[in-house]
């Protein structure tokens, strides 16, 4: 099984190098695309067809007679996973003393649709897309840039491998994140609830209901009382986490913006 993969990879690499010669056969559009990709990714594409596929959003994909539609959605699925792994390692190394809850939360704030949309504009992917779609209505799909950025990551990964793709993500995507700013704005639900209670002049109280588990591994159950009634509850490995959880649930229940 391994040998198959290794051999296959080697064949792929050789093929990719051969594919460079295809550049002689590029038409004007393809030449322009190859140049844009080089500018964005930092190196000439080996296999241009991957990048051509990456900018084919489902809304502009051709439909074949049998109803099949070739779009970038599969590449987006792959790119999403690769991006997730690279960002996970980035945060793992950047914050050696923070727990996995913090890392997970920070990661999901970084790879959300809105943030990716903005980065796609910053690195010039939106320009490539606009040229490709030539006046078709882009605004109909809010997340078209972010989707395409993920697909682009998938294309870079397939074209150049994990190491190159990781470098691409570090140098061209992560560089646009102000991670400290992202962390600073991480919502503190408990203070949101207290703020709200003061505005609404209601009494809120966190009550520790129970602590289960053994001496090594505890679970705290906290109830949040609002105006003399139980509003929500929360569980966690520490009292603080359980309170945050209860406060978060209350923010959702009481529709407090956060």
């Amino acid at each position: 099984m391994l040998h198959y993969f290794q051999k296959n990879n080697r064949v792929k690499l050789k093929l990719s190098r051969l594919l460079r010669f295809q550049a002689f056969l590029f038409n004007t559009d393809e030449k322009r695309l190859a140049a844009s990709i080089k500018h964005m990714v930092g190196s000439k594409p080996f296999n241009l067809s991957l990048y051509k596929l990456a900018i084919k959003h489902v809304s502009v994909a051709e439909e074949f007679k049998n109803g099949l539609r070739i779009s970038n959605e599969r590449l987006e699925y792959l790119g999403d996973a690769i991006l997730g792994a690279v960002v996970a390692e980035f945060l793992f190394n950047k914050f050696p003393f923070r727990d996995e809850g913090f890392l997970t939360e920070t990661r999901s704030r970084m790879v959300n649709r809105e943030a990716l949309n903005q980065i796609a504009v910053k690195i010039g992917l939106s320009k490539i897309l606009e040229a490709e779609l030539k006046g078709k209505n882009l605004s109909a799909h809010k997340s078209i840039f972010g989707d395409t950025l993920e697909a682009m990551v998938g294309a870079v990964y397939l074209d150049r491998g994990y190491k190159f793709c990781k470098k691409f993500i570090h140098q061209r995507i992560l560089i646009h994140f102000d991670v400290d700013d992202i962390i600073a704005t991480t919502t503190n639900f408990k203070s949101k609830i207290i703020e709200w209670s003061q505005k609404e002049s209601k009494e809120v109280d966190f009550k520790l209901v129970s602590v289960t588990g053994n001496t090594r591994f505890k679970e705290f159950l906290v109830e949040l009382w609002v105006g003399g009634e139980v509003c929500t509850s929360g569980k966690g490995a520490t009292k603080k986490k359980a309170e945050q959880e209860a406060a978060k649930n209350a923010c959702e229940k009481l529709k407090i913006a956060f």
Copy 2:
């Protein structure tokens, strides 16, 4: 930035090779652990301390005076992301003609806690854990084996890099999955609902409410009527997908087991 990473990686690799000499200083427990890891991973560990950390479940982690607890949770977070990326690529290559919805669904069925627990037992990780925990109660944490398997993936990745880790996942984890079997049991919600309606002698009907979008990109809205009343609705890019969505929502609402 790149140079820092590259250099850092090279230093890490050299350090890892030097760390092999630490084997002379291993005590009996460490020698046994190193041998077990070699058997499981397929190669001697470079940096044993990573693997020692990987088998430190939060429930048995030592607690320091300041309340800090060193456990495998951070490694689990990293391993989860790496495993996700490798499985995503595996399915991407295995099913070149399936859409991203299918790939996402299949992946989440493969990397769930229950499946990972079983694999941890199959590859002998549970034995290592039992030896480590020496009679402590493992059953208190259902997912301890699956959690530790993810942490182990994280340790292999940090110790040996992406390529080796991918090989490890392919050869030692994915080999235990019968992917075709997993796909065959993918739930068909529509047939579940129809089955249920026959048993309960209720009339169910899928009604196409609207089709929005342009000629290229459509969105179907389907309502599911049960016994003459609207029960749920579903949206999707095809009528079939919208019906599945509506049926899934109904299964949840009517508490039909699936």
